[in-house]
């Protein structure tokens, strides 16, 4: 088996396994997870679980404090009272479970102070992209200042991007060192999610290698994409990362979280991902501390499907805010 060697800051050498992935096998295996029949109460459970796992995201150049405040409000109270009242009226014999808050808000560092003020005491985590998101093409010292500032202003989770250019030209040490340095800045103040941007890594072998490297370097979560590059999260890529997480757990006993991001827009897709997580990693990972969806429009579809499950009717599309 081939391997890649990198050195820890102390000088000790780490060997990262690098072996080929069966692409056709991975695609086929991933497609099998879309064929499970999840109905009624199980589906309802999955929809509620997916809400708690959603990282409600806005990462646009046009983000304003007002938009971030609005998004924070939605994160804490995903539906208006009218939604619950109408649901109870249409399904009087059922006990409607309250809609939980989402897992986290994900914003640019500039919006962190505003989001921190809005989310205070709500239980919703505050994730900030950092390290020159989305390209990651800035010197390390600036990336670290980016992270420090976000943590200082209240980010509890840092979504960092790896330097894909360095990775693709084989400079694995640089990629590894940057993750270690960012982890060092986060310390115990913030969870570190490492974005691999799998759409730019070209091969499944690279995805597996980058996943393992990120975990060795101290990632708490590994994340597929920035959402700015197509393809973003796909089922096969997520499967490969989940398998890497499982193998790493078997080897070290450390549980690493997973966050597919970008392109997950429907409740149906979300349920497919949950099925995959459950079958690859087990129910320990079916928790917002171990699995997240990076999404913005997914939440509305989850709410629509919850309405349908309880009432048997399809709700208005435009009753929910777009952001």
């Amino acid at each position: 088996m081939a391997s890649v060697s990198v050195r820890m800051p102390g000088g000790s050498k780490i060997t990262i396994p690098h072996y080929p992935i069966d692409m056709i096998g991975a695609n086929e295996r991933a497609s099998t997870f879309t064929k499970r029949s999840i109905k009624k109460e199980s589906k309802l459970d999955a929809l509620y679980t997916a809400i708690t796992m959603t990282d409600l995201t806005t990462l646009e150049g046009a983000d304003t404090p007002g938009k971030v405040e609005q998004l924070c409000g939605k994160a804490i109270h995903p539906v208006p009272d009218q939604f619950m009242q109408e649901l109870q009226r249409l399904a009087p014999s059922r006990t409607i479970r309250p809609i939980p808050h989402v897992g986290a808000i994900c914003v640019y560092p500039e919006q962190v102070p505003i989001a921190a003020r809005c989310l205070e005491g709500s239980g919703v985590e505050l994730a900030s992209v950092a390290t020159a998101f989305p390209a990651g093409q800035l010197p390390l010292d600036i990336k670290l200042r980016d992270v420090k500032r976000a943590v200082k202003f209240g980010a509890t989770e840092i979504d960092m991007v790896i330097d894909r250019g360095a990775f693709l030209r084989g400079d694995f040490q640089k990629v590894f060192d940057e993750i270690v340095a960012v982890k060092d800045v986060c310390e115990d103040n913030a969870h570190l999610k490492v974005i691999l941007e799998t759409g730019e890594l070209k091969t499944y072998d690279n995805v597996r290698l980058a996943s393992w490297m990120a975990m060795e370097a101290g990632a708490d979560f590994i994340k597929t994409s920035t959402g700015k590059v197509a393809p973003a999260a796909t089922m096969p890529v997520t499967l490969i990362m989940l398998q890497a997480i499982w193998d790493y757990y078997q080897e070290t006993g450390i549980k690493i979280g997973m966050k597919p991001a970008g392109g997950i827009r429907t409740a149906k897709q979300a349920v497919h991902y949950l099925v995959m997580v459950n079958e690859v990693l087990g129910s320990d990972w079916l928790h917002p501390t171990m699995f997240r969806f990076g999404a913005s429009s997914l939440l509305n579809d989850l709410l629509r499907q919850i309405f349908k499950q309880y009432s048997g009717q399809y709700y208005y599309d435009d009753i929910f805010s777009l952001d």
């Binding site: 009717q313 399809y314 208005y316 599309d317």
Partner: protein
Amino acid sequence: MKVVKTVKLYIGGQFVRTESGRSYSFNKPGTENQYMRLCQASRKDFRNAVEICRNSVSSWSSRSAYNRSQILYRMAEMCEGKRLEFSTIFKDCLDVTNDRAEKMVDEAIDSFVYYAGFCDKYQQISGSVNPVNGPFHNFTTPEPVGMTALIDSDEFNFGSLIDNICSILVGGNAMVVLLGSGCPAILAPLAEIFATSDLPSGVINLLTGHLDELKQFIATHREVRSVSFQNEREDVFFDMKEASIDNMKRMVPRHKNVKSLDNILNFVEYKTVWHPIGY
């Protein structure tokens, strides 16, 4: 070798199979001879169609009246180009004479042209400038009601079907059509007309399937703002009307009108604007 064709659904400008994987046989009338197979749309197909259709309303209603008119006229041209195909289907499926089949196509083309002419006129006829007691310019204009479901008749009448589709289309509405059991075999050539006449995708979606299976979902779906119920089954109409009370859907009952302004006005809402003009 002869093969039996399975006609797909037409959703969002694409020909798609039903997500349920089901199909049913359509036989020549009075025989056991299978003419073709049709996809049996499920409630999820309907839901998908509604979602796409709803999102296409603005792209259609924001077109200028002149452009909508051009597109409807283009449909007449495309229908003319498919005269032979339609005639063959009518003769095969409805057991009509060649003359009758040709006349059915003529009626459909007449409807396309009639409503194409109305696109920039119905607002002028049904809108008004209102005399009000104050320094306001007050006027009322018709606007599209939105996403509409058309339940087609089981007694096939091509001219009526096109009339009903066009009367919804003229006002800037988008629709999901559940074709009747009389001659659903026309789905493919009919969809090809809509796909090739510059109509934005998703504005017209064609389904084949069973009304009894779908009626509840059509009636209760909140995004369906009105239903044109042209089927003969009164029991289903009243079931749907009852189920739609909760969401205040507009239910337009079966009618025999063809080429009528009233048909267009069934699918508009009126907006009155008060504009200050000063003293």
